[in-house]
Amino acid sequence: MSDTVIKLCDFGAAYEKKTVLEGVSTSIRRGRITAIMGPSGCGKSTLLKAMNRMLELQGGASIRGSIHLDGQDIQSIPVDELRRRVGMVFQTPTPFPLSIYKNMTYAPLYYGVHGKQKLDEIVRENLEITGLWDEVKDELDKSALKLSGGQQQRLCIARALTAEPEILLLDEPCSALDVKSTQVIEQLLLQLKERYTIVIVTHNLFQARRIADDCIFMLGGELWEQNTTEELFSNPQRPETKDYLHGAYA
């Protein structure tokens, strides 16, 4: 298996006629956490949504260039299969208005997993990974909407894992959470990178620095600079990156 999981070639995207991404070429490495950061409106969320073709759901979005997943153009992969392999967690937690248990079995049931025992196992395993099991094991029939914000977001991560993805995309997953919940999720992501490749969009520099192995800095719809986190933070090559890291765009 090659080191590169996702490869973007001269990728661009536009809403209606407004270009939001242009000429992005980069590689996402396997088993690592890659953070995409940059000021608001730099196209970082758009870039993330392009990777599992969620961008298509936005009216008027068009793309140029290509994205490859394990060497295969994602446009040639059936969209359902692509989204199963590339899971996504959104900015605000999106638990389904169902019980915790049903949230967790939602995808497995679709993928043909049968039998209570097998389902129970999936629920337990993934809730354990996200550290939610001990908190909710006695009330799996409770509505997921009754959980706290941080718990909801961990549930969403656990739910994404039930589809058995290879890659996990996270779009500012902590922006709606308090410090404590953010910490828990960051710890969780650090554990998860052993099994999944993680791409996280964040506007929080400290967060990128704490958890990411690689960093991509976006500016004005372009990939401005990319490097390992350590290198990028200690030795930015371009002046704009330096300014950003020093809070110039805050």
Binding site: N52, M54, L57, D80, E81, L82, R83, R84, R85, G87, M88, F90, T92, T94, F96, P97, L98, Y106, A107, Y110, C156, R159, A160, T162, A163
Partner: protein
């Protein structure tokens, strides 16, 4: 300035009072006049008398109306809800969606008597069904189809896009998302839309005049036979001067049925919000 505000306030209160007053008067008047006609016999027997309708009851009309309305609901709900689902979740082209919306608007604007004429030409004559419950029910169904579609579409569009996207992000299909997330979420509104449509159909005599309703029939058993209907019976009783008292009685029964089903619809939507 202060006088102006006061004036507007007065006007609003007056308008409000007038509206409520009219409705209250309408109900009170009909209930007052009709209540005396309501007996056990009135509800459980067929019309009788030298001139039919002066004596006896309206049971065939109650059962007939239930049949017409049931068929109308089935027909209107299936087509209306499916159209709404197509509009919101499957239609890719803006132009097609606009055209469907236009057709729905036009359909909603067609006078009910013209709907009756349409049913008569297509179902009664061309298909050779003759006047029957099925023809009348379907005609009413076509009439309430846009009514249901508009409400179902609104309910579907109100389902949070985040949830739908979160479901797609798991790689599951649109159909699965609809079945597990979207429809359960907006079922109360859709059901209440269908019930309101039922009330609308229940009170409409015009679509039935050519397609199914008759002056007198047995309690209906066969959908391919004509049957009495409450609004048509009411119309006959009054226009032919048969029995104004029984006409009020019929109106009373009809309004009670509509009131109860309407409350049911309200309860259904309300229950979801709690």
């Amino acid at each position: 300035m202060k006088a102006k505000v006061w004036l507007v306030k007065c006007w609003a209160i007056l308008a409000c009072a007038l509206t409520f007053g009219t409705i209250f008067f309408l109900f009170a008047y009909i209930f007052g006049k009709g209540a005396s006609a309501i007996t056990w016999e009135f509800l459980t027997e067929s019309p009788k008398g030298m001139i039919i309708g002066t004596e006896g009851g309206i049971l065939p009309a109650i059962v007939g109306s239930a049949w017409y309305t049931g068929i109308a609901c089935l027909f209107g709900a299936v087509l209306g809800i499916c159209t709404a689902i197509y509009q919101v979740y499957y239609c890719r082209s803006q132009r097609t969606a606009e055209r469907i919306a236009l057709v729905m608007k036009c359909m909603a604007g067609v006078p009910s008597i013209v709907m009756g004429l349409f049913g008569y030409t297509l179902l009664v004559l061309t298909l050779g069904w003759g006047k029957c419950i099925l023809a009348g029910g379907i005609t009413q169904g076509v009439m309430i189809l846009p009514f249901i579609e508009v409400r179902a579409e609104k309910a579907l569009r109100e389902v949070e896009g985040d949830l739908v996207h979160a479901s797609y992000a798991l790689g599951v299909s649109r159909a699965y998302t609809l079945r597990r997330i979207v429809l359960p979420r907006c079922l109360p509104q859709i059901v209440s839309g269908v019930i309101l449509g039922a009330c609308y159909a229940m009170g409409a005599a015009a679509p039935l005049i050519f397609t199914g309703a008759v002056i007198i029939s047995k309690v209906p058993e066969d959908v391919m036979k004509p049957a009495m209907a409450l609004p048509y019976h009411l119309y006959m009783l009054l226009t032919q001067g048969v029995s104004p008292e029984n006409a009020y009685g019929t109106a009373f029964v009809m309004m009670m049925i509509v009131l109860v089903t309407n409350s049911l619809a309200t309860w259904f939507t309300w229950r979801k919000k709690v």
